[in-house]
Amino acid sequence: MSARLRARLAPYALLLPGGLWLTIFFVVPLVAMLSLSLQQGDVVSGFSMTWHWQNFTDGISKYHNQIIRSLWYGGLSTVLQIVIGYPVAYWIAFRGGNRKSFFLFLLLLPFFVSFVLRTISWQFFLSDNGILLGPLKNIGLVSEHFHILATPYAVVGGLTYNYLPFMVLPLYVALERVDNRVVEAAHDLYANRVQTFRKVVFPLTLPGVFAGVLISFVPAAADYVNASILGGTQNTMIGNIIQNEYLINQTYPEASALSFTLMAVLLVGIFIYARALGTEEVLEAAAQ
């Protein structure tokens, strides 16, 4: 092999391991699932390809409420994550001093315990006569019938708690990257703290907000753990339905069709969001 040919092939050779990995574990299952979503049959007699598009329309007409609820819960929890996470990231980035890594470690510490276990401990904590509500009910601060579990609040709260680190980390990275001299320049040019934040710091961290929203909204909207552990029967999300279809009803084609519908809805949503917010127009608007 000539040196030139080798040089030309080198990039492809380097792509090979990753490419193979993605093909085997991403493309193949995706195609298999897409084909499954158009089949008919049952687990016992097997499934056969009949181009049954009705799997999609049926799924949407039956479960559109859960899809909308998922987007709503996911969106709400994402907004809450920004509201809670931004000050945390800001504080670590600008006031953390030489303890920054320690605070970031604290932020990631919950990941050392399983996601499900943490959610179950919330269930324990929030239960109707548990360690939070029990004493409050005993002293009569809240009524005997008050409950948090099995409400949308519990589900959105759980989602917010579980995905908060995914919001804080990109926000922290963006804030950390803001040049302190630019902040000083704003102060020097007569901007007070609030104006400096609104006109300079926040616009400069919009890419971080954008990234944080992407990586926490998508899993939050598709989540089923929080709704099943904290949400009771009235607050099911589309994730719960898909899980149920696959594992309980074993109606694989319907489940696959629903999975694809959710994926399509999220992709379209992200695309619109990226077009609306990911471009420089936002920055320009903020600069005005």
């Binding site: 040049d179 001299r181 630019v182 000083e184 320049a185 704003a186 102060h187 020097d188 040019l189 007569y190 901007a191 007070n192 104006q195 006109k199 300079v200 616009p203 400069l204 920055l283 320009e284 903020a286 600069a287 005005q288």
Partner: protein, 379 residues
């Protein structure tokens, strides 16, 4: 290029200094140790002056500037801006603006938005903001680039935006923190002239922080040479260059040749250090500055020394030496000479009329200069 209407004349009848520093001290704690970055600075900067703070890194010049701007608060001492004490006043309430070393432009804003930032915060009417931004961009030569982002500009253009962004507010004083350090030599020299022109045009007090002595000498009305948290010397470029007050100033500003010896004779305003029958240093001194027997150090600038093959006439300094190196520089030639007294001396000779080198390496020559060109330092 136009004049801006509200420019104030460079010369003020006003006697209040634009900036006055009194006993300014700044200490930092680093790793549990208290470090004094500024150890007590007193200075007055006059209205409309181009004032430089010159010194090596770590001399406290930037810290001093940050205390004037309000980013750092002094540990002790006072900062007066036009007579008013501003210690404790945040930067956004001080009527001074700063040009940062790395420009610190707002990357998400256009050139015009960057320049308009301060005026908008001050609540200036929209039409006036547009007018003044336009005028300022014209002064710095950036008309037509209003809509560009900082990253789409060259280093020199970014520099001009930073300058315009500060100057458009018509501040009491403009603080410039090594603003030319990031530019290449050609551009830096062009900007030196440009800065001086703009300063004359707008008549605002410029306080210029630099470690580049050439830059400070070229542009300043007065220079404060700083070393180790203190002002070593404050004076006009000529005073500082020709009468360095300390060994540090002599060494930091330009090249200087140091001699030392014991005074053998004082006649009127001249002291003599005698090395032999023909070799001597004759130094201009003030009354009572030195006595016979004093050990003194003196400095002579390289361009003041004359090289000759024959023993010089007259009663100035005369020292024998051997040429160790000849460096041809085009407009001038540098001779490195080892004197008979053991000192290494640099001599700078203009090539205005000479057709060839006066001497070559290894030649024995004479060095001579007039008494008024050597100064006793640190006495």
């Amino acid at each position: 290029m136009t004049e801006i209407q509200d420019a104030t004349p460079a010369v003020h009848t006003d006697t209040l200094p634009a900036i006055e520093l009194v006993g300014l001290v700044k200490s930092f704690t680093s790793h549990g140790e208290v470090v004094q970055a500024v150890k007590g600075i007193d200075m007055k900067i006059a209205e409309g002056e181009f004032f430089s703070m010159l010194g090596p890194s770590g001399c406290g010049k930037t810290t001093t500037m940050r205390m004037i701007a309000g980013f750092d608060e002094p540990t002790a001492g006072e900062v007066y801006l036009h007579g008013g004490n501003v210690v404790g006043v945040p930067p956004n309430k001080r009527d001074v603006n700063m040009v940062f070393q790395s420009y610190a432009l707002f990357p998400h804003m256009s050139v015009a938005e960057n320049v308009a930032f301060g005026l908008k915060r001050k609540g200036v009417a929209k039409e006036e903001v547009t007018r003044r931004v336009g005028e300022m961009l014209e002064i710095v030569g950036l008309t037509g680039r209003e809509k560009r982002r900082p990253k789409e500009l060259s280093g020199g253009q970014q520099q001009r935006v930073a300058l315009a962004r500060a100057l458009v507010n018509n501040p009491r004083a403009l603080l410039l923190d090594e603003p030319l350090a990031a530019l290449d030599l050609k551009l830096r020299q062009a900007m030196q002239v440009e800065l001086k022109r703009i300063q004359r045009e707008v008549g605002i007090t410029f306080v210029f922080v630099t470690h580049d002595q050439g830059e400070a000498l070229t542009m300043s009305d007065r220079i404060a040479v700083m070393n180790d948290g203190l002002v070593d010397q404050l004076g006009s470029p000529r005073e500082i260059y020709e009468h360095p007050a300390s060994k540090f100033v002599a060494g930091f500003i330009g090249t200087s040749n140091l001699f030392s010896g014991t005074v053998s004779e004082v006649v009127g305003a001249e002291a003599v250090i005698s090395y032999g029958p023909d070799e001597r240093l004759v130094i201009q001194v003030s009354t009572g500055q030195v006595r016979v027997g004093s050990e003194i150090e003196l400095t002579v600038r390289p361009e003041k020394i004359v090289i000759s093959i024959e023993a010089p006439h007259g009663n100035g300094s005369a020292v024998k030496g051997t040429v160790t190196e000849v460096v041809y520089l085009g407009t001038a030639t540098n001779y490195n000479v080892k004197t008979s007294t053991g000192a290494d001396v640099v001599v700078f000779t203009q090539n205005a009329t000479s057709a060839g080198d006066i001497a070559v390496r290894g030649d024995s020559i004479w060095l001579s200069w007039e008494p008024r060109h050597s100064y006793v330092i640190g006495a």
